[in-house]
Symmetry: C2
Subunit: 313 residues, 2 copies
DNA sequence: GTTCATGGTTTGTCCTGGACAAAATGTTGA
DNA sequence: TCAACATTTTGTCCAGGACAAACCATGAAC
């Protein structure tokens, strides 16, 4: 049982699946077809992956999420993969030098584990910019930066956790001050499918919706599709919004959204967004796919407009 | 790929894995060994599970989480399984009628999905009782009640989620108003081991510590043991506190705590608590095991006392 | 020049049935 | 009562074959 400690850094296939998001079957079939990754075997003949292999797999995973194909990536060395990622990673030529400075400062606090300073810096920016601007201008790009850095092994697990936790605190507090007593339409239900681990995307959406005065109910992560349907119908919600992190397999997302759309009453809109949905718009008729958080206020306004039109024809 | 829609209500194996948390391999091996679930096959020979099978699988899963064994469960019909779940929910006789009334009211709001009323009721109680009393007197017992009800199938997933989310909001907001700028000793690091899904226990601990003026840093859930050690050492923490929900296998908890205690410097205390640790105290020398949240303030005072004594001998 | 159908290729997921170690349970002796 | 050992249960892993959906390139039609 202690073998993961005895074999320093070597990971069994289940851990690799967890860490990279690549299914066990996929890992085995890659080995068979491409010859990578070729893990060593323990005394029982089971695969043991080296940290280097896992790192490379993470890079490949990330690039596949961006639309590249495995065959073209698997032969490359980690350095080349890293370069590809940098090129793809939104041309992070940030024109706003002030914002870049903010990012640098915050990243420094994260790296040095200065939680108090981190909290204060975020809080200050929130106060200055307002919730929605703070989300789209700071939190969303920072999530990207932190996520990238973590993938590249440039940030420790602990540091990523620290960042996530502090942002969550700030956002939850900010949202709960907004939400005082709005019962306005539309009523939005917010959640994720099972297996989704990341609550931050959900919170960002909630933070974008709350200031618009809509009634937004978050169920947190991991609600089974059938339960989403039942609750949305019973609660007379107008919109069901589902969020997908980049780690979520697009296939599962599309599957779940299709089946949800099919069983959800036509009167309830289905919204979905997040990095896990890149390039799936065409496959999901009847589902509104968001490319970015900034579209949310406009979409809400649009919903209200057509709701009003429907009332007075 | 559209089969899940064409076969109404029939789910492919990946969807069942998603909905029940049972691995595909486990589903196949149960079929082979016990003859349940025996899904029909689609035109391609792939398994298609009925909703009834999935429901029964969910019940079995819950009972297994409670410590029962598959062989004894799989032959039973859903009704018997439900009854077993009811029996497991421990009878909790509460002597305080006022508190019981609060619980009843809150449970009613949860059942009716009245999120706004739920939030307000909790907020009100928090204001009246103060954070620590609110945790030990309301939140902790309510968690138990809600957890039991969910286990028995007496509460929907959605309702449990709603409750959890609202409590989290309340607690996070309350904590962040307490934490303004305390840098007082002891410095406590708070987290869980990987595979732990529940953040609420962590938050309750944080809420018990914050009003004592200690510096409490939560890393959220799922931090690998090695990273906990590294971060605690580098950050010069005084105490590392780890929380375990009832679903966490006690054996894993004991193992992890032992290995953490062995690698952590002797000067850093290791605290652990939560339902997942029932009856393990003796096996863990050097680890302070908490039976209840109410012990926390006293333990903090004790730590401060002995720290002072160490300075002035 | 853009859209649409076509056919070939790539790729992820599913299958069977065997194997084994960790966990749980039962048994024995101090 | 507890510890050590034997046995059963149970989840996860493995190999290697199969197949359909997703992707890509080519050419035809508007």
């Amino acid at each position: 049982m202690n073998t993961p400690i005895l074999a320093p850094g070597g990971l069994p296939i289940a851990a690799v699946e967890r860490d990279t998001g690549l299914a066990k079957d996929t890992l085995r079939v890659w080995e068979r077809r491409y010859g990578f990754p070729l893990p060593v075997r323990d005394s029982n003949g089971e695969r043991v992956y080296s940290p280097e292999q896992v790192d490379k797999l993470r890079l490949i995973r990330r690039l596949i999420d961006q639309g590249m194909r495995p065959a073209k990536l698997i032969g490359l060395d980690p350095q080349a993969l890293g370069q590809l990622l940098e090129e793809l990673g939104s041309p992070r030529a940030d024109d706003d030098p002030e914002r870049t400075a903010h990012f640098q400062a915050i990243l420094k606090f994260v790296r040095l584990h200065l939680h108090e300073e981190l909290r204060r810096a975020l809080q200050q920016l929130l106060m200055k910019m307002g919730l929605q601007q703070f989300i789209t201008g700071i939190v969303a790009p920072l999530n990207h930066i932190v996520g990238d850095a973590w993938l590249r092994g440039d940030l420790e697990v602990v540091e990523e956790h620290l960042y996530t936790e502090q942002v969550q605190n700030i956002l939850r507090t900010a949202i709960s001050t907004q939400t005082s007593t709005t019962r306005e339409r539309p009523m939005v239900m917010l959640t994720t499918f099972p297996d989704e681990q990341h609550a931050l995307g959900l919170l960002m959406v909630e933070a974008m919706i709350a200031p618009e005065g809509a009634c937004c109910v978050s169920l947190g992560i991991q609600t089974p599709v059938e339960d989403i349907r039942a609750a949305a119908t019973a609660g007379r919600f107008d919109i069901v919004a589902v969020s997908f992190s980049s780690a979520y397999p697009a296939r599962l997302a599309v599957d779940g959204l299709r089946s949800l759309r099919a069983t959800l009453p036509a009167g309830i809109a289905l919204w979905a967004g997040g990095a896990g949905l890149r390039g799936t718009e065409r496959k999901l008729p009847g589902v509104k796919i968001f490319q970015s958080l900034e579209e949310i206020p406009h979409a809400l306004a649009e919903w209200r407009h057509s709701a009003k039109a429907a009332l007075q024809p």
